[in-house]
Symmetry: C3
Subunit: 297 residues, 3 copies
């Protein structure tokens, strides 16, 4: 390990220099994680975001799938935000104008919910509030892909997905097995950058390493633990957390990286005492709550 | 602390004398909790309610919001009742005539579910079974406020809400931030009493102290722990527990106070070993299960 | 205890000889569990099924009730399968053709979801994929009974229910209290055998002992712990687990018995450290994850 990389590896966050972005990802990342010495987002920036989250406790309006509503609310509460699931088309757009951030998760879409989602996105955009798209299982089901495209065309502030989903959205290839990724996040970096430029927003591809890009600068957040993939909703609730950080931070790349860094460090703390996915779930929520800004310095 | 207050403070339940109800709540409650010597509901009454709950295991029909269905069922099971979520308009009213108690929670309303709720309320009333209204986020969204009003006009046996919700329902002022209260329960006592007289039922305003009133007598239940507010559904599931106790106890004030006392003591037991909201959730369920009637004596 | 019964009692799985099936169940089972010496499914077979499950990680398409979606996904993930809840009628049948197994759980039916369920069943049958029916609360609500009958007529590969549900489905008698069984599984064996012959599939009646039958051979799986009945969704998620095993094993009786054996052993492991239903839930998920094939030898 490079002697200059101490700080980067301790906080697990580093910027990928544009000059090396022509390398093939797989080669590049073997290199970057032994050589990386540049870090845009210091632990200090992440710590400041977390401090701000807990001070402001932003209200996050979640239109998410049927399976993960409880863990999504609990992740937001544990981390320091305030969740609200206002889902009827009759009231969701009103609430989107009130809440600090909006999450649209396409895990279990159906017509009435989709109408609520679209009107909420429109209301959030009118109010100037950020919204995050979680394109669950993109590339796997034709009907759903059409739905997701309609949301992508509305320029989400952030898209958060796994590698298979981001690859599918960028048109590179379709993949995934149900809601699980069959691709490594490393393989989706170029796709993410291309997609980010297209939506003029931020794309976050999560996996063993999370990559956050606005199409120009790309940040890597390392860490976490694969046990998180055995608890349903850890990915979906991360998208909600991204929305919470976006509600308090203008810099969407920093906001998204802060959410990823908090989730990964919480997973690392959780695995210290977890004996399986059941205890991991609780330890993860406990860690989101007990982690302090200074733990990221 | 007053030497006569031992029992009251041990079980945390006391009646507020009507003679002092002209005092401003904030002043009054500072006084009542240092001076209170009157206790209508002895720990003995609460213990007897809990004993009866576990003997009868009442079937509680829950029409609640999308986010909290699992914790609601688990809270009822742990405490000693039997939950059932029969939600389609085609079958909900039939089931409301069979179940011992009914919960109507307006957390995620939409037209089909609202039709099921209304017909279930009508069926429960025809059968003479108690029903509890949880007016989630009352005062926050105009469309929802219209919906909640329609249920209030059907005279719920009990309304259980936080201070912002009860204040909004009584017309005092609107408040709340999403589903969270921004007001102290102490500030909502008069509003609760007025609302109770209007519905000719019981109103329970929960918070640091829970107040239960039928408009004439008002009971305070102290205790609990704020960590409960970081677990989604602890309030919503308390409303289900109120419905369970109402199914076995004619005295609705005692039934509601018993539910509050059980929930608060379970929270106190949970916090002894919880390290955050994840472990608190489980410890809370464990405590609802392990607490015995004699723990309230 | 019979000296030959060691292996049977260690793995808790034994076949009920047809020759004794004319005995009254209650008498018969007192006998069988002290005398049983025949075991078709050795621990070896169960172990092999579990090994195969983890190797293949089958994708299970779950159309289940609103209350238990999270625990159902988490049980599948912990055990080694891959859950997906694709619920809209517009996409569910497409996905049923892709997934390895399908679960239909009638816990909270309503028209749109029922259309998705029917078209998914049709798609799974066309693709030759197994599907499992969980007839929640059969016998309790007339409208629901009509719905369940329509699915029974489509010949599920497996029906998994409690004794009251299986008795109701076989026309023996209706029972149950909401979603809970009021009958012992022992009392439903003949009903299960009759129903299995009718659907030309497998019927699994769960309880203190689980019985799995194709109408000709009947397997008993003993063990487990009643605390599981205080966690909502342990039964529903077992049906999902049955679907997962059916996706990788042609022998539906073995597949179903493997799911039951895994669930029962996980419950036994969970109760060792659980202090109530909250901690049991997590310990159960941890045990599903940590149990290894060799634990069944």
């Amino acid at each position: 390990m490079n002697k200059h990389s101490g700080n980067t590896f301790r906080d697990g966050i580093g910027e990928i220099g544009e000059k090396v972005s022509i390398m093939k990802p797989s080669v590049y990342f073997r290199w970057i994680f032994t050589q990386m010495t540049v870090s845009t987002f210091s632990g200090q920036s992440i710590a400041e975001s977390i401090r701000l989250l807990r001070e402001k406790r932003p209200l996050v309006h979640c239109l998410t799938n049927e399976v993960v509503q409880e863990i999504t609310a609990n992740v937001l509460l544990a981390a320091g935000a305030s969740p609200a699931m206002v889902v009827a088309e009759e009231e969701a757009p009103f609430f989107a104008g009130v809440a600090g951030g909006l999450l649209i998760n396409i895990g279990t879409p159906y017509p009435a919910r989709l109408r609520a989602m679209h009107s909420s996105v429109d209301a959030a955009r009118s109010a100037g509030h950020p919204w995050v798209l979680d394109p669950v299982a993109a590339g796997g089901i034709p009907w759903r892909d059409g739905i997701i495209s309609e949301f992508v065309e509305k320029h989400p502030d952030v898209i958060r997905g796994n590698a298979s989903e981001i690859l599918a959205l960028s048109g590179t290839k379709s993949g995934g097995k149900g809601v699980d990724s069959t691709d490594s996040s490393d393989a989706a970096i170029e796709a993410a950058e291309r997609l980010a430029r297209k939506i003029e927003g931020v794309v976050c591809v999560t996996g063993e390493t999370d990559y956050i890009t606005d199409g120009e600068r790309t940040i890597a957040v390392k860490g976490g633990h694969p046990m998180a993939t055995l608890v349903v909703g850890t990915g979906c609730s991360l998208s909600a957390l991204v929305s919470a950080f976006c509600a308090i931070t203008e810099d969407r790349v920093l906001a998204t990286a802060s959410a990823c860094a908090l989730a990964k460090k919480a997973a690392e703390k959780a695995i210290e005492t977890a004996r399986g996915p059941g205890s991991f779930h609780n330890e993860y929520l406990d860690a989101l709550y007990t982690l302090q800004p200074e733990d990221f310095l």
